[in-house]
Subunit: 138 residues, 2 copies
């Protein structure tokens, strides 16, 4: 079991208090969060710091960005089964129109999709919108 410190070091990122806190925050959340969410959780910290921290995490493949169609970028930790950098391993996301939550369906892989001749597929973004299990009551 890797500690967060070890993880950051393995990615060549300096271990700072802020980064540990943000990492822990993301790890606790089971859903994708916006920058505002992080802002609200750390009111003492500056927006820019949070912004740049998340950007650093993204570059180092610690978090991945999610575009769920709400117009606001969300972020979620890359963990067990999430190898965002590998195209064939992309998972999909679910956005609840009711509670506005976005979650990673890491176990659901995106099916191979044929593109027309001449087109080269590099990345796929698949977001399903609807009602989540908590809201549907099923």
């Amino acid at each position: 079991m890797k500690t967060i410190e070890q993880l950051l070091e393995s990615k060549n990122i300096r271990v700072t208090a802020m980064r540990l806190l943000i990492y822990k925050f993301l790890a606790e959340k089971q859903v994708a969060v916006t920058l505002s969410d992080i802002e609200n959780a750390f009111e003492k910290a500056d927006r820019t710091t949070l912004y740049r921290t998340v950007k650093t995490f993204e570059e180092k493949a610690i978090v991945h960005q999610i575009d769920d169609g709400t117009g606001i970028t969300k972020y979620a930790l890359c963990e067990k089964g999430c190898n965002c950098e590998i195209e064939t391993d992309l998972h999909l996301h679910f956005h609840c129109n009711n509670c506005n939550v976005t979650i990673c369906l890491t176990e659901h892989k995106i099916p191979q999709i044929k593109v027309p001749d001449g087109f080269i597929s590099e990345d796929i973004n698949l977001v399903i919108k609807g009602v989540c299990d908590k809201c549907s009551g099923l």
Copy 2:
């Protein structure tokens, strides 16, 4: 063959010069356009008018909105084979990372995707990013 005037009237939208121009602009373009694109094409017109015109078109299912992950909303005409309002008929979009163009692949339908128990799928957004036929040179 319906004229644009007839189309607008059939959707209960008043026929105005602006709307005819914007419709023609969208029809000429083979790709999805941003509001800025339209703005640049009609510099005499006000941003708000263009914005509201497109929104009207969207409500009346004349255009559909595309979220290609660039963070900027794009719009494209709904035509032959595009029945956006019907979930099972959703087509996918391709975004070229090179020339930044987004096109509708109307002939490519989104495969049925199973969601976990308790989740209800209402809408699906699928964007493939890569290199388009014009840029790939294939």
